[in-house]
Symmetry: C2
Subunit: 563 residues, 2 copies
């Protein structure tokens, strides 16, 4: 099939952005085509802040009819962590009808080729980008993120990660040429000659299992990696975070249809409460790829049972920060205080265990005892969150009652160095807003081990007294090996300690941030430059985004003949 | 660690070959640095044919002491399919001692970096290449291949596949730069700046489980892909094909040691008869990668149980050739006759099911009935193998008694169109040499199905009467989907039929050779250009060689800090 005119136009339109993305994943310098300041929106067809809010308000209480085959009912029930019922209803699908329908457009999508597929993906992202102000509210009111974070992480940063996946997918598919002439000399006889064609072919339907806290940021890499490599994508959102992904599916279907492809290449699988369709869908023979972000238990279940599929999981981990010494004590405390507070610690990248030598540390402000470091950190958090309005804009709301229960239980685990504080939200009084809890633990006490070596998802950190920095490195190794880690942070002025920590991270395969004291935080990664997770420890079997994340989503079929 | 002087020298020596390999995997044109004519050897330090034979003879009855840690005994027992007892003994390893010892050199090997690792791998291959004449005899007397095939497939072609894997591994590891400076503008404030380091890190010990028929050809891709990406490699040869891989391990240990690395990065795990150590080793926590070629049953077992590892398998498949029409009837028959005969059909790529319309086909020699096609093919095989000496040089010997038993049983499955003939080998009277058997089956008869949809490994093909070419395409689809296929061949002059076959192969993910009538055969693939297997049907979960084959053998650890 020749590309439809609409597809050709898209290729011309998006080629420069694709080329820049391809260049940036090679240099890993800073770049993003998606502005992260709200004021940048409202021109060139993008929604302004007011328009975005109005568009979100207009969605409330409506039915999002995606015109999908096999729709056998309607699903609703999202309640914002800020208190409002969204009242949006979504199609419920009969997979026996929907899955075959999703396969119907595969051949045309395969024939379109890698470049057209990339251009269509970039058009989807461009239209989502234009509605960033609207998406921000959908992410805020499903994840509980504060508005600015929902705007940035759920908007431009998520779009960046989607674009990054498209770039990797394109690069991977075009490593092999479409055709080759092969001529093998045979001495005095005629050479052997073959004409070869190489076609990237999809694996089959790809299932995206979304998460509650970062529906777009964690969802877009898998979605776009699979779509760009020719696979239809079935999006199964978290039941409490349907709206951002339902809109994403709606935009994707619109763009696919306009470009001359089957809209059913992307579809939504919303579910009734307690239906558990992820488990049913994940093992169906049509599903050949699964992307998942969520609990270790279900991630392990998927890896064990969805054997017919390539399974990419991001599960739980225990993130560590080693505090050995610093030449910027205030900067360190401020940086850590922010990391612990951002989105109430409800990030897979938030530090949990802060390892501090029991004999104290050296700093530019003189030696500090273990107790001083802990109380100074507590004070830094207090100071950061002193004003309720500002605190709310950083903390957001607790995403669900489980986090609240875990937070309350954690206060019983040891001496509380910083109590979690209830913070009121004037605009949304129903929001449950809590500041971080810091609990003191002693690594030498056996009872501490259960707490240390277990993810306590939410605004909970442990200030862990360790015998020495060397002991801290050993505990770090054990933690990463047994529990996995999405991030490791460390503060040290000692080249020897730094080398020990770096070596531990290289050997245990964990991403390390060293001596961050400014405006970059251990829990944030930037697309095109930072890898999110390593794919080499138990926290995740894949990294966002690298060659391995895309290379097995398609295969190359060769057809060879004599010329 | 700075690279040792020896390693730097190797980098300079091998960089041109690496660059050419990198270029060729992009263009997929013909290229090989390893001559495939025996006469090309004997100069520039390589063994001449006579020297190679003498070196092989000198190995017989000796002990190959690799000086491995944990050697707790000696293993022997290889008997050549040509009748001689090799009498070579190999170290038996205690994995509790050997595996930790193999990990000891990992950090230095990681620090060497991708280029030095590639150069060391290329030096290993170069030394093996210089001993190609010797390796040829080891492959012949373990696999039963005839000498010329053992020479070419076991020598230059295997070395090509190893080099190809090294090139992919190098390309993959260098997609991310070693360092990056990241500067993010912050409006009027100072930009955020980070200095980032990216290090490819190995997964852990890689286990190569070798096969009987192509110990080097099927073994080198995984061995070199893992070693080049920083992983130690434990080589577990098939008990009847130890010698070629033991010599490979010996060379690798020699080169690693000379280059300043730990020789234990490559080690041998030979086993006592019936010990079944592959099953024990594959699930050990130290083993993080498994490469396997062999039966579907054990391949499936590995995929199910070796969950702590990345598992790459090449298993059984059922290869089909569709015969719809041809404009070179004689060429087609000759080409097929050769494909069926080569190494007595003991290749994972040999055609098994020849689908022929029951109403016959059109050819440049006039219309041919089903019976005529089958008898003309039988005659072509007879003519190719008329002379016993020439036949033996093509057929080699049956690799084991199972093949012979299967061949004998297959003659009962239907009408025999071409009986398998016993052929005597003057030089090796004990060799069991058999010409191909062709049995007629009717796809319309239910009892044919069990035979058709099951791999019958060895010199057995089925001439299958089908209702039409369209029915043949449907049977092809079903065969690939249910049984997998390493290769598909087809003969047709009809653009419509060709398109149907191509579409079937693209959708079912099988590699297709169209209208081969000359000196290229469906069962042969060339490194740097052809993919061996697709990795997308049940015959194999990986292709040799592509990005996916190497991308997940290592991970990238990022260390970032403020500048």
């Amino acid at each position: 099939m020749a590309a439809a005119p609409a597809a050709t136009t898209l290729t011309e339109k998006h080629r420069p952005v694709l080329d820049q993305a391809l260049e940036t994943i090679r240099t890993r310098a800073y770049w993003s085509p998606h502005p992260e300041h709200p004021k940048a929106y409202g021109e060139n067809g993008s929604l302004s802040p007011a328009e975005g809010k109005a568009a979100f308000d207009a969605l409330l209480g409506t039915r999002i009819d995606l015109d999908q085959p096999g729709t056998d009912g309607w699903v609703e029930g999202e309640r914002s962590p800020y208190g409002l019922d969204l009242g949006v209803s979504y199609p419920h699908a009969d997979p026996d009808v929907l899955l075959p329908a999703m396969r119907a457009g595969m051949a045309d999508w395969r024939r379109a080729g890698a470049e057209v597929r990339a251009a269509v993906c970039l058009e989807i992202l461009a239209r989502i980008s234009a509605r960033t102000q609207e998406f921000a509210h959908t992410v805020m009111h499903t994840s509980g993120q504060a508005f600015m974070m929902a705007f940035q992480a759920g908007g431009p940063h998520a779009q960046d990660r989607g674009l990054e996946a498209v770039a990797y997918a394109y690069a991977e598919q075009t490593r092999t040429p479409l055709t080759a002439e092969w001529t093998k000399p045979q001495g005095r006889r005629d050479p052997l000659e073959l004409r070869k064609e190489f076609t990237p072919v999809p694996r089959g339907v790809s299932l995206l299992i979304g998460c509650n806290t970062f529906p777009t940021w964690n969802g877009y890499p898998g979605l776009f990696a699979s779509l760009a490599t020719g696979n239809p994508v079935l999006v199964k959102p978290h039941p409490r975070a349907v709206l951002p992904l339902a809109l994403t599916v709606q935009v994707a279907r619109e763009v696919l249809g306009e470009a001359g492809f089957d809209a059913n290449l992307v579809a939504l699988a919303a579910e009734h409460p307690g239906e558990g369709i992820a488990k049913q869908l994940a093992v169906r023979p049509e599903i050949r790829i699964v992307d998942y972000t969520g609990s270790t238990a279900f991630g392990d279940w998927l890896e064990t049972h969805a054997r017919q599929a390539q399974v990419y999981t991001e599960k739980a981990g225990v993130n560590t920060v080693l505090i050995d010494s610093t030449d910027d004590y205030r900067g360190m405390l401020a940086n850590l205080a922010f990391s612990l507070s951002l989105y109430s610690g409800q990030m897979c990248t938030t530090p949990q265990n802060l390892l501090i030598p029991r004999d104290g540390i050296t700093t530019d402000a003189g030696p500090k005892s273990y107790d001083e470091v802990v109380s100074d950190l507590a004070a830094a958090v207090d100071s950061l969150l002193g004003d309720d309005a500002k605190a709310g804009a950083l903390l957001g709301a607790l995403v669900n009652d489980d986090v609240k229960a875990r937070l309350e239980a954690a206060a019983e685990l040891g001496e509380v160095a910083l109590a979690s504080r209830e913070i009121s939200n004037e605009e949304f009084p129903a929001a449950v807003v809590r500041s971080p809890l810091i609990v003191k633990l002693d690594a030498a006490k056996p009872e501490a081990e259960a707490a240390l070596l277990h993810e306590c998802f939410g605004p909970v950190s442990f200030a862990v007294a360790v015998d020495s920095s060397a002991a801290a490195v050993e505990l770090l190794r054990r933690t990463v090996r047994e529990q996995g880690a999405m991030t490791v942070g460390a503060y040290t002025t000692s080249p020897e300690v730094s080398e020990q920590i770096e070596e531990a991270c290289l050997e245990e395969c964990a991403q390390l941030s060293l001596n961050l004291t400014g405006g970059v935080y251990v829990n944030q990664t930037a697309a095109f430059s930072d890898f999110h997770g390593s794919g080499g420890n138990p926290a995740a079997n894949a990294a966002l985004c690298d060659g391995a994340f895309v290379a097995n989503r398609f295969r190359v079929v060769e057809i060879r003949r004599e010329p």
